[in-house]
Amino acid sequence: MTTSPFIHLANVSKTYRSGRGQHLAISDATFDVLPGELVALVGPSGCGKSTLLKILAGLHGHDGGEVRIGSPTHPFDPAKDIGMVFQAPLLLKWRRILDNVVLPAELLDLPMAAARRRARELMAMVGLQGAEDKYPYELSGGMQQRAAIARALVHDPKLILMDEPFGALDALTREKMNLELLRIWKESGKTIVFVTHGISEAVFLGTRVVVMTAGPARMADNFEVDLPHPRTLDLKTHEAFGVYTRRIYRLLGME
């Protein structure tokens, strides 16, 4: 492999200290993410996957190891190259959808006319054309999450961090959003780190899956998912798909 990694993590550890003691949130996380990859971080609650995402976002520091984002071919500016999507859509209730989508551009003082044009294009890409002037409460949960994805893309960041973005959606909407995400990822060419506790979701979406376990929190596996793109729901019935999910179930002690 000649491409240098976009994200490089080596022996990253993080301990939360409080008055009553300390809690090891991550120990020894080591993996690389290539530019344009969609990496799924999967594991049970308390395995440190969200903490790792916050470290990547620059919201938390880390105690040990090395965290490097960006490469000579893919430079990274932490002040404007991060797009975030959380489990809750976090749309501002008082803003119309288009005004919500342009928020990052507004905070970064980007030229607004161009940002609004781009926001409209992104809304079309995520399937929200016609909803520009609606208020968040007028949209379903799935639609709100589409808007949150468009918002994460509006300032054209190089890295998209997603923390269980479809965790609050019903099963059918969730499958649909998985397909949409793969399409958006292909169209935008972004590097995505996707945190989930859904094992089949991780295999279905990821070009690479990083498995983390809880108690003690540690990184248990890191493998490439060699399944063809574009992926369709049919894939979930294929034998190779089952091999990958079983591998994860075994690591999590569920088999």
């Binding site: 991060i82 975030m84 959380f86 809750a88 990052p104």
Partner: protein
């Protein structure tokens, strides 16, 4: 804080105006009937039992007093109105500004808030004579006394609203390196708007109380001073007439706050 939603909210969403009016009449009719029945009962009770007017006037006698020019209703009503509006406006501005100061940093929170809480435990009515000493007779002591009573709920509610922005939303704007000022302007302040309106509704009621307290203590004008005079001279009907005007004033001010909220923050009670 949960948003108050009227029970008919869903039902009237797409209904025609006629259906809405019918719905509203059906909803409010029972309470109106009860209120009217109580007034009729009062009127008949006082008349039939032969209660003296200086003890308890009938509702009609109280209303008739409003036509008596000796009480200079317009001038007195306006004096109270100005004091109420002054206290309301001053409380609103002072309350929101103090809340921003408190939420701005931890040290200010730890130093300013205890002072405010301590001040709020004082019975403000006991301060009234001081303000008269400092500000003289006239409208200003009434405005200031009203403000001391009404501003505290403004501060608390606004501060809660400013502090209650979603933590993950704040994470999101942090990754974009947004300045505190921008976060205040674009996230925290709009987020606090429904809370500010909760404060304004309390403020509307308490400004009326505050202005009257001021007029009780030191004023030869205003509905408060009319009530005091009415008590001393046994003109009980004028006291009830004053009460009608005061509660009307309070109701209209409260209604205005509700109406402005519907225009400014229609999103506040949805979703």
């Amino acid at each position: 804080m949960s948003a108050p939603v009227s029970p008919t909210h869903e039902a009237i969403a797409d209904a025609s105006v006629a259906a809405r009016v019918r719905g509203a009449v059906g909803y409010y009719l029972p309470s109106v009937v009860v209120m009217l029945a109580l007034l009729v009962l009062w009127q008949l009770g006082v008349t039939m039992l032969g209660v003296k007017e200086y003890i308890l006037p009938t509702p009609l006698a109280a209303l008739r007093t409003l036509a008596d020019p000796n009480y200079r209703w317009t001038a007195n009503f306006l004096a109270t109105l100005y004091a109420v509006l002054g206290a309301f406006a001053l409380s609103a501005v002072l309350g929101v500004l103090l809340a921003i100061v408190i939420v701005w940093n931890d040290l200010l929170m730890r130093t300013v808030m205890p002072v405010l809480v301590l001040f709020n435990t004082l019975p403000k009515i006991a301060l009234a004579p001081l303000f008269v000493v400092w500000l003289g007779y006239g409208i200003w002591p009434n405005i200031v006394i009203g403000t001391t009573i009404a501003f505290f709920p403004m501060v608390v509610n606004t501060a809660v609203g400013l502090a209650s922005a979603e933590p993950e939303m704040l994470d999101l704007v942090k990754t974009l390196r947004a300045s505190r000022w921008k976060v205040l302007r674009k996230i925290r302040f709009p987020n606090a708007v429904p809370y500010i309106f909760v404060g304004l509704k309390l403020n509307a009621t308490m400004s009326v109380i505050g202005a009257l307290v001021g007029e009780f203590v030191a004023s030869e004008r205003g509905l408060g001073s009319l009530i005091i005079t009415g008590g001393v001279t046994m003109q009980t009907a004028s006291i009830f007439a004053s009460l009608v005007l005061i509660s009307t004033l309070g109701l209209v001010l409260y209604g205005l706050v509700v109406a402005v909220e519907r225009i400014v923050a229609p999103w506040a009670h949805r979703g």
